[in-house]
């Protein structure tokens, strides 16, 4: 698929899955989409390994935009992007945006064939400052 992919990373698998459901309701299967949540041991948290897996699943040559909730999700996502390494890491962006609104808006933008830069800009417009 040539549309930008969306990855949702929450501390809670319920939040991540629910956000993904809302994205699917908007864009159906037009956008590669994957989510992960939880520390991999049954608790709240985020797992670098799971994030790397979600990026693989939602991979698109057009790039991948990651939406995160709290700080650890951002730090672990940045680590996952680094571990995936070049050249693909240049096509993956961790967005600074609210997770639910950001994922839905970014996916809607992506479904119209927008570039990674445009998709990320749409998500960032939701963040003050």
């Amino acid at each position: 698929m040539s549309n930008v992919g969306i990855v949702i990373v929450s501390h809670s698998p319920l939040v991540a899955e629910g956000t993904a459901d809302m994205v699917r309701q908007m864009v159906g299967d037009e956008v590669p989409l994957a989510w992960c949540g939880g520390n991999g041991h049954g608790g709240l948290g985020t797992s670098v390994e799971a994030i790397m897996g979600a990026i693989e699943k939602a991979w698109s040559e057009a790039g991948v935009a990651i939406l995160v909730d709290l700080g650890g999700a951002e730090t672990n996502s940045e680590m996952a992007v680094e571990m995936i390494g070049e050249p693909r890491s240049h096509k993956i962006v961790v967005c600074n945006a609210p997770i639910v609104e950001g994922a839905v808006m970014a996916a809607t933008e992506a479904s119209g064939g927008a570039s990674l830069k445009e998709v990320v800009a749409t998500a960032h417009e939701l963040s003050p400052s």
Binding site: G43, V48, L70
Partner: protein, 200 residues
């Protein structure tokens, strides 16, 4: 460094984290999400399980392997932060480092942790312990003095206001509590400094 020495360093680090896991969790419950002790224990037990395999590698590769294991197993922001510390040490250290080599590598590793956490000393984080440890190392202090400097630095996070991480959501209410990451860093510094002195 002999392989058995590196294994004993890992054991000392994992032992101190396991022994203080509840204390770390209690510190984190006060001003964070309360998972620091459990997360760190999980990470260091995973490192301990592969200690012999890691110790068989050259020191830089062994440190990188420790860092990668922490990243993959801790499950909170501490994973990338402590993982980056060890991975960067592995990247910067020569195979047989002297004190100058270790000091320079720690300086670079602290920069890497600061970049990973988008933080700097003074924000009530592990950096508030790492920076004084680096300075003590650069000044030629003994292992015991370095460990004491780390403890003092962790204590000094109590009156600070948190500016990074979950504790920063509390604003002024974060004042009066020790930062859990600063405490775990001081514990690791003491365990490693004492284990290194035992081997000299």
């Amino acid at each position: 460094m002999a392989a058995s020495d590196f294994s004993s360093l890992i054991a000392a680090a994992a032992d101190t984290i396991a022994a203080h896991a509840e204390e770390l969790t209690a510190l984190d419950q006060a001003i964070g999400d309360g998972d620091h002790g459990l997360n760190m224990k999980r990470g260091f037990e995973a490192v301990r399980a592969e200690a012999d395999a890691f110790a068989a590698k050259p020191l830089p590769d062994a440190l990188k392997a420790v860092g990668t294991k922490l990243v993959m197993t801790v499950g909170g922001a501490s994973g990338p932060l402590f993982g980056t510390l060890f991975m960067a040490l592995g990247k910067e250290l020569p195979a047989a480092p002297d004190r100058d080599g270790l000091t320079a590598a720690l300086g670079k590793a602290i920069e890497a942790v600061a970049a990973r956490g988008k933080s700097q000393p003074g924000q009530k984080t592990m950096l508030d312990v790492l920076q004084p440890v680096y300075e003590a190392l650069a000044q030629g202090r003994t292992g015991k003095e370095i460990a004491n400097a780390a403890d003092k630095a962790a204590d000094a996070t109590v009156p600070m206001k948190a500016l990074r991480g979950r504790a920063s959501f509390l604003g002024d209410r974060s004042i009066g509590h020790m930062d859990a990451g600063a405490r775990s860093t001081a514990l690791l510094v003491r365990a490693i400094a004492e284990a290194v002195e035992d081997h000299q």
